[in-house]
Symmetry: C2
Subunit: 412 residues, 2 copies
């Protein structure tokens, strides 16, 4: 594994990690923009824009874009989060330059009126579909409740109204500011030739104009509000809990990740033993989401309506015990084992490695080898996790629930 | 890559592919049993049994099982389909033997009454949850409509009633027949020591009793029925189409896989250009599902209620054009490119390789290198795909839809 980096004159960062024994390579553009960089008026524009990039450029229409991807046999996709828009592809080594050129071309989209109007319907259908998916809907609503007016509470998909009202000019303006080269990085991992990558990027990207882009970074404590809505036809109660935690730049993020595994890993966690194993909840998990300048612990619990009070009581007990007695040495040892093996296995595939490389650069401007991250996980102590719990009590959460209509005994 | 195999005296097949340059290893038991091996009375028992294996053995309770997995840091899981129950784990090389011993232990579960009764609630909640998920529900109902009385139409999860009525004795009887060593294989892939694997399996599995197990193998043409149900609160129409196709043992399965990519790959397919790109459907995909003695093409389409007639009209046109004019050379070339790169990239990770190794052995009793499968894909011709379409017309399908109540214009 050899790390490579280069900054182009317009601010575009190129980074890569070469692994000549890999059978494939992964490449991607990471754009430092997402729903938190939107105003309420244009909420959803980042995700909509991600769709529009596949509609073509001055030189290619959507049909030709797809034909070009087909020609490389790439496994490609894109995703938009609160903070990032990522475009990636995994290919056989002989197609790395071809697929890189294609992504470069797509990063300067035509944003045609007619494509915009057609794609608006796709976005609206996607919003409608997620409304049919309570496990997604509850997370989205809880995030908005938790962050209140803070832009991190913006929905990634946007709302029906903001999408309906969005104009193509608003999208074009957003694009120019947010897809500036100094707000993007190009990353590659696996079996590729760094010299060829650099000369390809230099040839085609140097004409992109840099411009300083800002993002407000502030910590946010969360609203700690509790809300519930009812939906007929639902069989289960879906519950989301969010509490504030450290940001991506805080070295305690490894402790936070271990804490989420101890509390809410799929198996073997406190949630698992107290709720899932006892058949009180079907799912009960916690995940740590490190962000830019802030962070959060998200819990998702699904259970039958009759178990809601009992489940929430037990969750309260788990959080109380964490803040009074802390975690144990044995819990930490097991969580480290899980996190370490997941880390190594994920990074074995160029596509998995690409994401870790890219995010470490986006958030930290640092290269971490897998061994660096292994060391950081190993170095976390029981005291480290316990003092994190003391500062960020997971029991002090925002809560949103979506469930069936209350039954006669009104036990919710 | 070096292939290894060994058959134990009781019929248990061990197979492995050693790749010393991998950073991890994957191991798994493949049990040749699933919902198609159930009667209506015990429908759901395979999947329920899969859950029960994690509840422990004579020597270990569920808590100890989880602790043992935690000790290896394994990424482990299991899944049950119509035909197979698969238990797998990916670990760092130093934990391969430990996690193998653990799976061996779990393959002879205690099936305790109290665990059975508690887990029954978990299964019931899982069934309830999937009822809240129309994209899943529609596939399940369509499969049952398509296969009618044929056991391949059995739901993997089972029904509320069959699960409610199931007794632990019925499960124990099912276990003894279906988890016999001559109905299972042990597979490993990646960085491991074959000699150690063999001696571990010999030490602990030879006491398992073999017994001849039967499965009825017959082709089935499908009912070709059409049904629709309404659910209030749904925003979209969910449509599943199923048509019969060749089985796993038929060499034309590669042609069938390519056909499904041409018709319904996520991007660049006929469904994509005619339905998704034109914003008429949000999702429109086709997948080929090769089975034991039979096979099927599954399409899933999600669109807004107002587009249903138009979407189904276009789907009809696509299938008619396929059967009149066939596929083109260019379509086949692109589909091969996609399938080949997906094949190589998936098999790069030991976990991905494990599944291909295991299924090739389960269905064919054959070892195929990645290169063998690459060659088979490359060898498919336009005529090969077209004659497959002639024999198995995808336009002659069973259809199930779940959607919102019809609007006033009654346009569904």
């Amino acid at each position: 594994m050899v790390f490579k980096k280069k900054k182009l004159a317009n601010g575009l960062d190129l980074i890569g990690e070469v692994n000549k024994s890999a059978k494939s390579a992964a490449v991607g553009f990471f754009v430092r923009t997402g729903s938190r960089d939107e105003t309420k008026q244009i909420n959803g524009v980042s995700h909509f824009l991600e769709h529009m990039l596949f509609k073509g450029t001055e030189n290619l229409d959507a049909f030709e874009v797809n034909k070009a991807f087909d020609g490389t046999g790439a496994q490609f996709n894109a995703f938009t989060s609160e903070e990032n828009t990522v475009y990636y592809a995994a290919v056989l080594p002989e197609y790395v330059i071809e697929v890189t050129k294609l992504w470069i071309e797509l990063m300067r989209p035509a944003l045609r009126d007619e494509d915009f109007n057609i794609e608006k319907n796709v976005i609206k259908e996607e919003i409608a579909m997620y409304k049919d998916t309570p496990s997604f809907d509850v997370m989205d609503r809880c995030r908005s409740l938790h962050f209140g007016g803070h832009p991190c509470g913006n929905s990634v998909l946007g709302g029906e109204k903001s999408i309906e009202d969005l104009t193509v000019e608003q999208m074009r303006n957003y694009f120019v500011t947010r897809y500036a080269p100094d707000n993007m990085i190009f990353t590659c991992a696996g079996n590729f030739d760094w010299g060829q990558i650099c000369s390809t990027l230099e040839t085609f990207c140097l004409k992109w104009q840099g411009q300083a882009v800002a993002r407000k970074l502030e910590h946010f404590e969360g609203s700690k509000k509790k809300e519930r809505i009812e939906k007929s036809n639902l069989a289960c109660e879906h519950i989301c809990l969010i509490s504030p935690c450290v940001s991506f730049r805080d070295p305690r993020r490894f402790a936070a990740a271990l804490l989420s595994v101890i509390v809410g890993d799929n198996v073997g966690s406190r949630f698992f033993w107290e709720l899932v194993d006892k058949a009180l909840a079907e799912v009960a998990t916690m995940q740590y989401s490190p962000m830019d300048g802030t962070g959060a612990l998200y819990s998702y619990i699904r259970c039958s309506g009759k178990n809601v009070s009992k489940v929430l009581g037990i969750v309260g007990d788990i959080f109380r015990s964490l803040s009074h007695e802390g975690i144990t040495k044995d819990e930490l040892r097991k969580a480290k084992n899980k996190v370490l093996s997941a880390l190594v296995i994920k990074n074995e595939l160029p596509m998995g490695r690409l994401l870790d490389l890219g995010f470490n650069w986006i958030y930290l401007k640092q290269y971490h080898t897998i061994e660096d991250d292994v060391k950081a996980v190993k170095a976390v102590t029981v005291d480290g996790v316990n003092s994190l719990i003391e500062q960020f009590n997971p029991g002090d959460f925002t809560q949103f629930s979506i469930g069936p209509a209350c039954n006669e005994s009104g036990q919710h």
